[in-house]
Symmetry: C2
Subunit: 224 residues, 2 copies
């Protein structure tokens, strides 16, 4: 059976991603990172549940607590506020963790190389890369080259990004068709529960559910 | 003053590297990683001393303990033995930590971006890249592209590898000219002290000192 390391945060995108990888015939090696974010416990619980439902033989949890010490992101720096979503806002959001995806992909590659995995799945997507530079397709292509050159010559690991040209509604439609249990996923940046409904992450999640005309099964503090 | 993140392990190469960066006019932001290796305490002590001597405003220590959980390297897996150096041995040595340099460079880039640093110094060198794929010049070039694409558009971080085409004796000559205090550096893979004198790392260090006809100031368990 082919093996894939899946970056599984516990959010709706990465959970859908793991279901896509499984559907493509891969055995899932789940890689879950915490980095001092406010909602770490809830995300971990969701990620574990998804991994278990998919029969993942391994769930590797890594703590990137150094991001909190490096600072500079409202996602991990508790002295900074997480802003409400604002329509039409441009530029890099305050929740940006500098170069996070490269950190995650490096660990994923170390894990994949040591397990003889064939692929790494990461849920980067079109709607992210206006704001986050390390979600761009060119970034992913450049990282594939780093993998090819930086691993042993007989190691062949493919970086697979099924969502890179999809928006969140497309991802949700894909996941609903595969039976992803969205009640076991978490997106809110602010709270372990109920979800705030107002941060960027809640905003885009709720918008996707509205677009596909399905009710989001998780609980929100206030209706939008 | 220009700022540089320096990967400072506490070994002779990275200590020389930090002196080279300082000599080039950079203020040193030291980044020291431990990853469950046997000699972590001694290396940390040396790295701190070098950073202090160079007036580094920050010494960021990060623990990559996940490497021990990923396993597969005798450097971090205590159930594996570290082999003595063997002349003419080919292939990837058992001390290889899969994709380690990409992990280190990713953290260095996060640190550099958040501090507005201009450069990252890493001490990869010619004599490594027969064995370690993530020391090759092509790997470094590919990682530069990942940095350019994965950071904010107004971030410009140059990856500087002064030793990439040098051997260990060249590096040592450079360091002696700059007054690097080699008594405050550590290379042995096996022991916190005295150095074993027989692992690959001790072997190449002692060979470099013999080639430049200088006495290595650290203590060895046995003369080679």
């Amino acid at each position: 059976m082919m093996k894939a390391v899946c970056l599984l945060s516990g959010g709706m995108d990465s959970s859908t991603l793991a279901y896509v990888a499984k559907d493509m015939g891969y055995e899932i090696y789940a890689l879950h990172a915490t980095y001092g974010q406010r909602t770490a416990n809830r995300e971990r619980e969701c990620a574990r549940k998804i991994a278990q439902l998919l029969g993942a033989p391994e769930f590797l949890e890594i703590s990137l607590d150094y991001f909190a010490r490096i600072g500079g992101s409202s996602l991990v720096d508790r002295s900074m506020e997480i802003a409400d979503h604002e329509e039409g806002e441009k530029g890099i959001p305050s929740t940006y963790v500098p170069f996070r995806n490269s950190n995650l992909l490096s660990i994923a590659t170390s894990f994949a190389e040591s397990r003889g995995a064939d692929a790494i799945f990461i849920g980067v997507q079109a709607s992210d890369y206006a704001g986050y530079p390390d979600c761009r397709p060119e970034f992913i292509e450049a990282f594939q080259r780093v993998i090819d050159l930086g691993t042993a010559d007989d190691t062949h690991i493919r970086l697979i990004t099924p969502f890179v040209r999809m928006n969140k509604a497309d991802i949700l439609r894909t996941g609903l068709a595969l039976g992803v249990p969205y009640e076991h996923t978490w997106s809110c940046y602010r709270s372990d529960g109920p979800a705030c409904g107002r941060c960027d992450s809640c905003h885009y999640r709720l918008e996707a559910f509205r677009q596909v005309r399905v009710r989001d099964p998780i609980t929100y503090a206030e209706a939008e």
